[in-house]
Symmetry: C2
Subunit: 177 residues, 2 copies
């Protein structure tokens, strides 16, 4: 990159996001949560339907219960905070896409404040269990949750950065084939 | 928001993103496209599968043809550039979510450089037509495209900003119900 000024800063910021799954127990300040929710609120969506609500969870027993249901959201266990998007349950494909956009923004807003995050998926019986735990109506759709908290740097250094495919493997010009 | 420093700047940046559907004809510099693709490349994905490739399209005839298929990607017609994510086609729900994360990052990377963008959907027969136009194998999944270009400010001002639901309508603490 190496640009000067705001463009370079913003690109560097976007490039800096990594999933964080190990957290310090320090609470996330209300002001930071406010910024995260505001960035989430302004997410774009198909036909601007904004097909989402959020359950913000601090309660340790609830976070542990969510971490334990079928799926891959185990990292909620030690996170000081979790956000569970509750989607309208009307248009599966578009809502999954919109939920991805939303969650990327939540992770970036957290990162802006030095707060780490990662996405966990609920699968199989985990989906119904989450609805039961959080009082979410059956007709709504739940598929993911975001763990949030200040990163445990030591755990981080042990893991290193995830590999990504090079551009030469994934970019095609004008036509795929 | 009103914070000082990098956190406030990054939050303001995230809050500033709006879909842009009217473009000036000026080309998007190669350096900017490079940054956008690099931000896309580093996107997170379920199980780090990175289930994507991209077709970058500059050719006017191709962009017009893509804009004309069944769906909502008409804004490719006058965009100097389009990016079509080609997804692996293995896990429908996770890939739709990952495509949303990816496209949000592409839009933000473009915005960092003052480049506007919007997401268009292909539906019905449009999906097969896009595959045919771009030489994408049948087993791959195509569902959206991103138009990119410098915003036509006059058109923008005529439209105004999209409404979003207030936080009070979408945020629940600890439990939904």
């Amino acid at each position: 990159m190496g640009e000067k000024g705001a463009a370079g800063d913003n690109i560097s910021f976007l490039l800096s996001l990594r999933a964080v799954r190990e957290f310090r127990p320090d609470p996330v300040p209300e002001k930071v949560i406010g910024d995260i929710l505001e960035v989430a609120r302004l997410s774009g969506s198909a036909s601007n339907k904004q097909p989402w609500e959020f359950v913000v969870v601090w309660d340790r027993a609830t976070l542990r219960a969510l971490a334990a249901v079928e799926g891959y959201a185990y990292h909620l266990k030690d996170a000081p905070l979790g956000i569970v998007p509750v989607m309208a349950g009307e248009r599966e494909e578009q809502e999954s896409y919109d939920e991805g956009r939303l969650c990327e923004r939540i992770m970036l807003a957290a990162k802006a404040h030095g707060v780490g995050s990662s996405i966990g998926w609920f699968v199989g019986s985990g989906v119904a269990e989450v609805k039961e735990l959080l009082g979410i109506p059956q007709e709504r759709r739940v598929r993911s949750a975001i763990s949030l908290g200040y990163p445990d740097g030591a755990a981080r250094r042990r893991r290193g950065a995830p590999a990504r495919k090079p551009l030469s493997e994934i970019v095609h010009e004008e036509r795929y084939g």
